[in-house]
């Protein structure tokens, strides 16, 4: 009777708890959605699906584990790796990887694709940026929903950030949040932070599978100097230069950027130092990442059109040409896929014993004509 009276007295407290519980449940459903992985429809030529934990077992069951799609041709040849999703707020990188997974055919050699390199960074969205959580494309296989994630590993998986991040093994000092940036953590270490372990697993994978040519696909804001660029190291600069020249004949212009010796932790620098692969990093220009952007929504990811960027272009402060047609996702994906194919072609020409022949990928002009939807 007494407890009943107490309950009666505290009815508002119980109601408040119920309201809080309902709100927590509703909010958690939204956050849980960000953990779901996109459903992909791999091309019939898919040979095998590996996982990053095959190369570093500590990642098994964590958000750091990710799929590696392997496409092996009938003829033996070289091995190529393509990495998307190092930064999941740079959609042309992982959308190019997804497009390849769903369409590619390999006639010679082997192609490995890791579309969600930093899987943990797909599970959250950068705070205070107003970024959309998802964007959709009406493809041939139906309405496809894709995540727009963060640059860095989810703090749920790695925290707290130090004031100063010390890169291993160089000791280079960077801002604290860079400790969660996969592209500042190479070569990584097996007993390091979560992000160092993901980087370590990727390097271990490249070493174990004896990858010959490795790509890391990125995007950056249109005002950043390294956009529409191919970054290469000492060993890959010849093929990158040749590719940039040949692409220029197709009216696709790329700046050539050398991988800095003293900027450590980046994929191209550390893959050069710690593996036998020829490293290539490519950047396209993406307005949703820029500081000059206006309304930030899923439309901006797809169209790349922003009136503030139009003004900025007129003022001459951008690093890329920009007009009223914007920088649509198909242009950005088209540039990545065209340059990827060109570099593989040149590598195969220069290394006939390790040649890789990739079929069934659209050219840049085909993507412009048909749109990205045709390939999803």
């Amino acid at each position: 009777m007494k407890s009943f009276l107490k309950l009666k007295k505290n009815w508002f407290a119980l109601l408040s708890i119920l309201i809080a519980a309902a709100a927590s449940w509703g909010v958690s459903l939204q956050f849980r959605q960000m953990l779901a992985r996109e459903k992909l429809f791999p091309a019939p030529s898919l040979t095998q699906v590996l996982h990053l934990h095959d190369y570093h077992p500590a990642l098994k069951g964590t958000h750091g584990d990710t799929k590696i799609y392997r496409f092996e041709g009938k003829e033996p040849g070289g091995k190529v790796l393509l990495l998307g999703g190092t930064h999941p707020n740079e959609p042309a990188g992982y959308m190019s990887a997804y497009l390849m997974i769903e369409n590619v055919q390999v006639a010679r050699g082997t192609l490995y694709i890791i579309p969600r390199a930093n899987n943990s960074a797909f599970t959250h969205t950068d705070p205070q940026e107003g970024n959309p959580q998802f964007f959709t494309i009406r493809g041939k296989k139906g309405l496809r929903k894709f995540r727009y994630g963060s640059r860095d590993t989810n703090p749920i998986d790695q925290w707290p950030d130090p004031d100063i991040y010390l890169h291993y093994p160089s000791g280079q000092e960077l801002a604290g949040n860079e400790t969660r940036n996969l592209n500042r953590n190479y070569p990584g270490r097996p007993d390091g932070t979560f992000t160092e372990q993901v980087a370590y697993a990727i390097v271990k994978f490249i070493q174990s599978e004896k990858i010959d040519l490795a790509f890391d696909l990125h995007e950056a804001s249109p005002e950043y100097p390294v956009v529409n660029a191919i970054v290469s190291s000492e060993s890959s600069q010849d093929i990158a230069t040749e590719a940039a020249l040949e692409l220029a004949f197709e009216d696709l212009h790329y700046s050539l950027e050398p991988s800095p010796y003293n900027f450590r932790g980046l994929s191209h620098r550390e893959w050069e130092n710690y593996t036998d692969a020829l490293p290539i990093l490519m950047e396209t220009a993406n307005p949703i990442q820029g500081r000059l952007r206006g309304k930030t929504d899923a439309r901006l990811i797809l169209t790349g059109w922003d009136k503030m960027y139009l003004k900025a272009a007129k003022l001459g402060v951008l690093s890329v040409p920009y007009d009223s047609s914007g920088l649509p996702l198909k242009v950005r994906v088209g540039r990545h896929i065209e340059a990827f194919q060109k570099i593989v072609e040149i590598f195969s020409r220069d290394h006939p014993d390790k040649a890789v022949r990739i079929l069934n990928l659209p050219s840049y002009s085909e993507l412009m004509e048909k749109g990205i939807e045709e390939f999803f």
Binding site: I17, S24, F31
Partner: protein, 48 residues
Amino acid sequence: MLTIIYRIIVLFFVVLLLYDVFKEKKKTLQLTAAISLIPFVLRLLMIK
């Protein structure tokens, strides 16, 4: 290890806030304490 300590601290605040919800006399303060629980619960369960 650090995460376990962190979650224990979060749990401590959850208990304090729950206590507050029942002990506060004003309804607005009870509701405020209950709403304050939301981020702590999400953190405790490592959802956010």
